[in-house]
């Protein structure tokens, strides 16, 4: 049992290391970083002194070694722009992104899971069709379009809520709603499918045949079994949430990591891009690891099967 | 006559890799020798998992051997290039147990029957009409209504599908045919029809046949000689009558006992003890054998003649007189 968790953790750490290495070299494919970061008209001396100052005159492997040993001690380099440690960016912006993501994620579950359950239980009825139509629409609506539509409706037209910024709770409502609504469509569809699959199983028919009240059959037998795939899906959807975060933060000028990433890319601020990429990759790989571990706890069969395959 | 097929000391095992510790090794075929003459049918019998299907694939070069040689129509299979091997396949055919699986679900069966002529251009069926004529001929040979040629596999019955697979195998006029349980997926009445067809084909084509089956009654109808396999080894071999009527190996007798008898009051004898692990030494059948003695646990029995072409791999094979009783 511990073996399973250790193997999963080791795998996650290796994946993270490979990802970090991959991004390190990807971001250095273009050797003329100075030219990009300064500007096209910079003199050769300016570029040379820039490269010396930031260590780009060293070989790639040396740079990698310096970076990775630094990163392990919490030193992720310095921003080109204001010479502050890149890690400070994360420390500053992380709480904002967590605030938005957690609110959005909670909303996503609160809307998506009950909608999916209702559609599955009322399978084939008007309720089911309405929920599924809404889900199909939500699935097809880009988060930036939904965000701007909400912004127009509530901030411009009704003037109920602030359009951009992050200073009060009211500022959180629109971005979190955008985040939650876009994500909940996929959750609802998946929950419905998982629930329908479980409801078709022989043990549900057996429970019904034994005369158990319908609500008890659903709550006691169906929901716990449908929970496993749904939890997995929630975990794996963290990857998409990262994408949402970048876009939603941009739409609402929410000062989180996603917005920081976009502006760092625009400024060619290498160290900041690098550290943000590491943070996002850690988020997703960590979430996947969490799902794996939860899975092992919820379903002992997975654990033993994983053990046999090594 | 030169044999169409000769196998010498074939070995093949399967490994499953493990991250830690040694690989799991499962021996499937262990030191098999056999020969098939033109126009002859060799039956290979044994329970499921004894390695008879693996042997069939080794004989056709569809699976590489670990050691040992297969010589088919004068070619040593391991030595051929991939292109030469593919070319040779026109002369050696395999018929699977499951005809539905062996057919592409998305093409009319007629096209599939004629496909080997397109694969093997060197056979010279260059024109559409030549191929159509040859297709007509094999359809007649397997007694399949030409109307059915336009149908898709799932629209045919099990017997019709097996006729299609046979027709496809026969269209290139092979000299060696390996039939892997060709009738076991069919209803009994259809089995009889297909067996009748196979008998006719055997007589007419002059090809060497290897007939793999777990069913002794079916083998008796078609095979001239029989080889009994147990755990990858041939434990008894000889003419069909000799092996099936006067079996010398305890395993063959067990198998024969497993065939339901129609004599009233005659009890069907089933396997006495099934044991999974391979014995470290000695006869591999010993753990299941009712007649096993101390020597069986230590000494390895070699396939040796027990009268004429009949040979058996048992240290204490009973004399012919004991069995005739």
């Amino acid at each position: 049992m511990t073996g399973y968790f250790l193997r999963r953790t080791l795998r996650a750490v290796i994946t993270l290391w490979v990802a970090v290495t991959f991004f390190f070299f990807l971001l250095r494919v273009d050797v003329n970083i100075g030219l990009l970061a300064l500007n096209m008209n910079a003199s050769q001396e300016a570029i040379d002194s820039f490269n010396t100052r930031w260590g780009f005159d060293k070989s790639l492997l040396d740079q990698y070694w310096l970076w990775i040993t630094g990163a392990l001690q919490g030193d992720f380099g310095y921003s080109f722009r204001d010479a502050r440690p890149a890690a400070d960016w994360v420390a500053e912006r992380l709480p904002k992104t967590l605030e938005l993501s957690l609110a959005g994620f909670a909303l996503m579950i609160v809307i998506g899971v009950p909608a999916g359950l209702a559609a599955a239980i009322r399978n084939g009825t008007a309720t089911d069709r309405t929920i599924m139509s809404l889900a199909a629409a939500g699935y097809s609506l880009p988060s930036f379009v939904l965000g701007l539509a909400l912004m127009y409706t509530f901030a411009v037209y009704l003037q109920l809520l602030p359009s951009t910024g992050s200073t009060s709770f009211a500022h959180l409502i629109l971005p979190a709603a955008t985040y939650g609504l876009t994500g909940s469509a996929g959750i609802a569809r998946f929950t419905r499918a998982a629930m329908l699959e479980v409801l078709g199983k022989p043990y549900i028919a057996a429970a019904r045949a034994s005369g158990a009240p319908p609500a008890a059959v659903v709550l006691r037998h169906a929901v716990p079994n449908a929970a496993i795939p749904v939890v997995t899906m929630l975990g794996f959807s963290v990857g998409q949430l990262v994408g949402h975060a970048v876009i939603v933060e941009t739409v609402f000028a929410w000062p989180g990591l996603g917005q920081a990433l976009i502006s760092a890319v625009a400024n060619r601020d290498l160290a900041v891009v690098q550290v943000l990429v590491v943070v996002f990759a850690t988020f997703m790989i960590g979430a996947n690891l969490l799902v794996d571990i939860l899975y092992g706890v919820l379903d002992p069969r997975i654990r033993t099967a994983g053990g046999a395959n090594g | 006559m030169t044999p169409v097929l000769t196998a010498r000391k074939l070995h093949r095992s399967f490994r499953r890799h493990r991250l830690l510790g040694p690989d799991y090794v499962t021996p499937a075929v262990r030191g098999v020798d056999l020969e098939v003459e033109p126009g002859e049918c060799l039956g290979i019998v044994g329970e499921s998992g004894c390695g008879k299907s693996t042997l069939g694939r080794l004989l056709l070069g569809l699976l590489p051997t670990d050691s040992g040689t297969v010589t088919c129509l004068g070619n040593q299979l391991g030595d051929l290039s991939k292109a030469d091997m593919r070319r040779l396949r026109a002369k050696m055919a395999l018929v699977h147990q499951n005809p539905l699986g062996a057919l592409d679900p998305r093409r009319p069966v007629g096209d599939q029957i004629a496909e080997p002529l397109l694969i093997h251009r060197h056979l010279g069926y260059a024109s559409q009409s030549a191929r159509a004529a040859r297709k007509e001929a094999v359809l007649r040979a397997v007694a399949l209504d030409p109307v059915l040629a336009d149908r898709y596999p799932h629209r045919l019955s099990g017997g019709q599908r097996q006729r299609v697979v046979l027709a496809r195998a026969l269209i290139t006029e092979p000299e060696l045919l390996v039939l892997d349980e060709p009738v076991s997926a069919l209803d009994v009445s259809v089995q009889a029809q297909i067996l009748g067809l196979l008998k006719k084909l055997k007589a007419e084509s002059g090809a060497g046949l290897v007939f793999i089956s777990h069913d002794l009654r079916v083998v008796r109808q078609l095979a001239d000689r029989v080889a009994v396999m147990y755990r990858g080894q041939i434990v008894e071999q000889g003419s069909t009558e000799a092996v099936l009527d006067t079996p010398r190996h305890p395993y063959t007798r067990l198998l024969r006992g497993a065939v339901p008898s129609l004599v009233p009051g005659h009890r069907v004898k089933s396997e006495s003890r099934a044991i999974d692990a391979f014995p470290e030494a000695g006869c591999s059948f010993a753990p299941r054998c009712e007649q096993a003695r101390v020597g069986c646990r230590t000494e390895f029995p070699v396939l040796s003649s027990c009268g004429g072409s009949h040979s058996v791999a048992c240290l204490y094979a009973p004399a012919r007189e004991e069995i005739a009783r």
Partner: protein
């Protein structure tokens, strides 16, 4: 059960699917021939008519969908953006399908270490947030049409690879590929003539799932300003351009936003239908 199916048949194709198909046909026609008939050039400015409202909001037929802050005709820009967005999504989906299918086939054909390497790549890509990869890659490489297209194509290849590998293994397991091998057929013949036609249905269903996601990715990245660059335009870039003027000219966001939404929705609806059909077909066998 029997009654249910007959009732459905009697009802015919639902109106939502008819509308979806109709919209896609319209969009395809616009993308193919629209730009030739667009009343104005993409970057043609009409300073006299800045922020002209669309006809529906009291504008004139000179600019049926209104104009932007420098007087560019939104209708003309929209038609061009639809062409670029559709082209990127279609080609991106195709590139992903081809890369993924080929690698999936290679993995299933050769097995062993080749399969291990390919599947490790698949797992690696699936373990990373793709949009972050896209942003990082677009930060490094010159943001041109082809780079962007390639990045869109790489998104999702891993799902085709997984699917095709599983389908080919399934085909080998079914026996017909094996049977053809034993007849002496060349592997190329087996793959192109037999396996490919058999797995095409499942792969095209995957494409209907992938296509809307590619549109969303393309428009999303263009919205962030790191996708398609001016003077070209795409639906996402139009939304991005219109965003600062949401207070005075909502149409600049509303029309391109609606175009993205309707297109992805239509493909999703038709794709769901195709998948249901495919399920029914396989269940019958």
């Amino acid at each position: 059960m029997v009654e249910v199916t007959t009732v459905r048949k009697a009802a015919g194709t639902p109106w939502s699917l008819r509308l979806a198909a109709g919209w896609l046909i319209l969009v395809l026609i616009l993308a193919l021939v629209g730009p030739a008939f667009a009343p104005y050039g993409v970057n043609e400015q009409d300073f006299a008519a800045r922020f002209a409202p669309p006809v529906l909001a009291g504008g004139t037929w000179a600019h049926p969908f209104g104009t932007d802050q420098i007087g560019r005709d939104l209708f003309s820009r929209l038609i061009n953006a639809i062409r670029i967005s559709l082209l990127l999504a279609l080609l991106g989906t195709l590139i992903g399908m081809v890369i993924g299918s080929v690698l999936g086939m290679i993995a299933a054909h050769f097995r062993g270490w080749i399969e291990d390497v390919i599947m490790a790549l698949v797992d690696f890509q699936a373990a990373l947030p793709f949009i972050i990869f896209a942003i990082a890659a677009l930060a490094v490489f010159e943001a041109g049409f082809w780079t962007f297209l390639l990045i869109l194509g790489i998104a999702g290849w891993e799902r085709y690879a997984r699917l095709v590998r599983a389908l080919v293994l399934q085909a080998q397991n079914d026996g017909y590929a094996d049977a053809l091998d034993s007849l002496g057929a060349h592997p190329v013949r087996i793959y192109l003539w037999h396996i490919l036609p058999n797995i095409f249905g499942a792969v095209s269903v995957q494409m209907t799932i992938n296509f809307p996601e590619t549109i969303l990715l393309e428009t999303g990245l263009s919205f962030l300003g790191i996708g398609i660059q001016p003077p070209h335009t795409s639906l996402g870039l139009l939304v991005s351009d219109g965003r600062p003027y949401i207070f005075q000219a909502i149409w600049l966001v509303a029309f391109p936003g609606a175009a993205i939404f309707l297109t992805t929705l239509s493909v999703s609806l038709l794709g769901d239908r195709a998948r249901d059909r495919a399920d029914i077909l396989t269940r019958k066998d």
